[in-house]
């Protein structure tokens, strides 16, 4: 008895209340107003950690990676004997040292295990997939990828002393190299595969619903290693996208540049962190 009266009362009160609530629902965003994206908000808040945390983690090059390090036999120096988290361990110097002409970094340089860039127009076998049959019918593209930290050379005073020895004299962690990709692949997957194949350390963070990886460190050089405005950024065909590298779907002939900035992008021609 008492209960049913209470319920009735409740119902009546709720109906009243809800009719009020409805009218107080926040207005939908005004149409037509598109604010310029500058990424500042996201970046700053992420700093609360202003930046994505860590889900994907590549302790070091080949041995512990979840993906098969295909072409490892061509990947240059064997990494297996290196302690997995030793930041002092230079990964790339040997490889970089092979560059004969550091003065002309823009020139595409062939990487062991990749086809000659001069032959890129022909359809070709993909290095890096174990099972070529999986690729039958898939459209193949070619892009150029490079990884440079040359800005650090001008900022050695700000460089974490423990990291100084990791900075290649040429600034190249990976000189421009032609690589193949499957249709629909992103800047991230190509970076990931290229690093694996060349024994280059890379760590990214991710979250299931974030839909993009955030590159924290390459070649054991991390954001904040060279001052509070330092970190990795990428450009495609000279443009720095303001969204994550997993969301950039490659087109045939794209030129990807991963660059380390010591000044929030100002020293590499961009304005946002990756």
């Amino acid at each position: 008895m008492k209960k049913s009266i209470l319920c009735l009362l409740l119902l009546a009160a709720l109906v009243l209340c809800l009719s009020g609530c409805k009218s107080k629902t926040p207005a939908p965003p005004p149409d037509g107003e598109v604010l310029t994206e500058d990424g500042t908000g996201a970046a700053a808040a992420d700093s609360g950690e202003v930046n994505p945390g860590t889900v994907g983690y590549y302790p070091n090059a080949a041995p512990e990676q979840p993906l098969t390090p295909v072409g490892a036999e061509n990947a240059g120096q064997p990494e297996e004997t290196q302690p997995p988290q030793e930041p002092q361990q230079p990964q790339e110097p040997e490889q970089i040292a092979e560059h004969e002409d550091p003065g002309e970094p823009e020139e595409p340089q062939q990487i062991v295990g990749y086809e000659d860039p001069g032959e890129l127009e022909e359809p070709q076998q993909i290095v890096g997939y174990e099972d070529p049959t999986e690729l039958e019918g898939a459209k193949i593209g070619t892009c150029t990828i490079s990884i440079s930290c040359s800005t650090i050379l001008n900022n050695m005073d700000k460089c974490d002393p423990a990291k100084a020895s990791l900075v290649p004299a040429t600034g190249w962690i990976l000189a421009p190299a032609a690589v193949s990709f499957e249709e629909g692949e992103s800047v991230f997957t190509v970076l990931q595969r290229t690093c694996q194949q060349n024994g280059i350390h890379m760590e990214f963070s991710n979250a299931p619903m974030y839909n993009s990886a955030y590159i924290e460190g390459i070649g054991n050089l991390y954001e904040f290693d060279v001052g509070e405005l330092s970190g990795w950024m990428y450009s495609v065909n000279g443009v720095f996208p303001n969204y994550g590298c997993s969301k950039y779907i490659l087109q045939n002939g794209d030129t990807i540049r991963w660059v380390y900035t010591c000044d929030q992008g100002a020293d590499v021609g961009g304005s946002n962190f990756s």
Binding site: L10, C21, K24, P26, N51, T54, V55, N206, F224, E228
Partner: protein, 344 residues
């Protein structure tokens, strides 16, 4: 039966309450819907600044009902990550973020899988690698649980004074702050610096810095009440005002009739999510910051402790709470009722 009866009574009470001020009611509704959204979007919580610690903070401080299994799931994922990385993360703000989340849910940050996640905040040099942002979040994390500053294993021993001084000394000419500590002021960093300084506002030097910071924040507020160009900037401003005990309708922070909260809510979508910028659809980072900003509004309206003031352990939801109905839980129960009934 008794519990059911109590919830009904609570509902009735709440129903009557809700005929109160329109602003508070609309923010409360938004809070419930946004909490429900985050629970759906981050159903499988992760470790990281998206879909992880900020979701934990927002939900924990919202007072909304969250299944114990969700807290447990986050903790298990965190413990696994911490163990896998042997307690080592790249940035000091990673530790600050995890300390905030753990404290909010009532768990001990000094022992996660055997690792002390608070300890790195004792290293001043390491925190300052991230500039003023590192100092801000180290201080907020230390203060959220009233923790003693841990002994530094390496580098300069941090103190609260050192962190505070690092923030004060990086204040810009115009009274604001920016990530690189150079003009112009950045709305997010300015708001976050104010949040960090808030517990020290009895100190005359800090009080003066806060006044200058508020003047700057007011000056860079847009004509529509928003800040910067994203909802996150609005969210940080809302949190700063609530933390400092400044009413959201303070004339300094109302532009053309729109407050920072009004501006924030324009980014909110019907499903409870927030957009990063207008028209770009739900964004997880924006949604998490939007949620905890609404939680800050809710807590200020209810006279509860500030968003980042978790020194009262009874407030933590992740530790199997007693069956007592607090003001926060009342709101929470109502949130859940509305959501489950499909009314929101």
């Amino acid at each position: 039966m008794k519990a059911l009866f109590r919830s009904l009574a609570v509902l009735l009470a709440l129903t009557l309450c809700l005929s109160g001020p329109a602003l508070a009611a609309s923010a409360e509704d938004a809070l419930a819907g946004s909490a429900a959204y985050i629970l759906r979007a981050a159903a499988e919580p992760a470790v990281g600044s998206v879909g992880g610690e900020w979701a934990v903070l927002g939900l924990a401080r919202s007072g909304c009902d969250v299944p114990q299994t969700w807290w447990d799931r986050y903790y298990a994922v965190l413990a696994e990550e911490v163990a896998g990385r042997e307690g080592s993360f790249n940035r000091n703000t990673d530790y600050a973020r995890m300390v905030l989340a753990l404290t909010a849910m009532g768990r001990n940050p000094r022992n996660v899988a055997g690792y002390d996640l608070l300890a790195p905040l004792g290293n001043y040099d390491s925190a300052l690698r991230q500039g003023v942002n590192g100092a801000i979040w180290a201080l907020i994390a230390l203060d959220c649980g009233g923790y003693d500053v841990p002994a530094a294993a390496a580098g300069t021993q941090a103190t609260r004074e050192l962190y505070r001084e690092a923030i004060l000394s990086r204040q810009l000419e115009d009274g604001g702050w920016s990530p690189g500590s150079r003009a112009p002021a950045d709305p997010d960093e300015t708001a976050m610096a104010l949040q960090a300084l808030s517990p020290y506002r009895q100190d005359p030097a800090v009080a003066a810095a806060i006044e200058d910071g508020l003047a700057c924040l007011s000056a860079i507020q847009n004509a529509d009440g928003s800040f910067g160009s994203s909802s996150e900037s609005c969210a940080q401003a809302v949190v700063a005002l609530c933390t400092l005990g400044i009413p959201l309708d303070d004339p300094r922070f109302v532009k053309n009739g729109a407050s920072a909260l009004d501006a924030l809510l324009t980014y909110r979508l019907a499903d409870g999510s927030f957009q990063h910028t207008m028209g770009d659809g739900a964004n997880q980072m924006a949604s998490e910051q939007g949620l905890y900003a609404l939680a800050a509004v809710h807590r200020a309206a209810e006279g509860l402790s500030g968003l980042y003031d978790m020194t009262d352990p009874a407030a933590a939801p992740g530790t199997a709470p007693e069956q007592t109905v607090t003001a926060g839980e009342m709101t929470g129960l109502f949130c859940v009722f509305l959501v489950r009934s499909g009314l929101l």
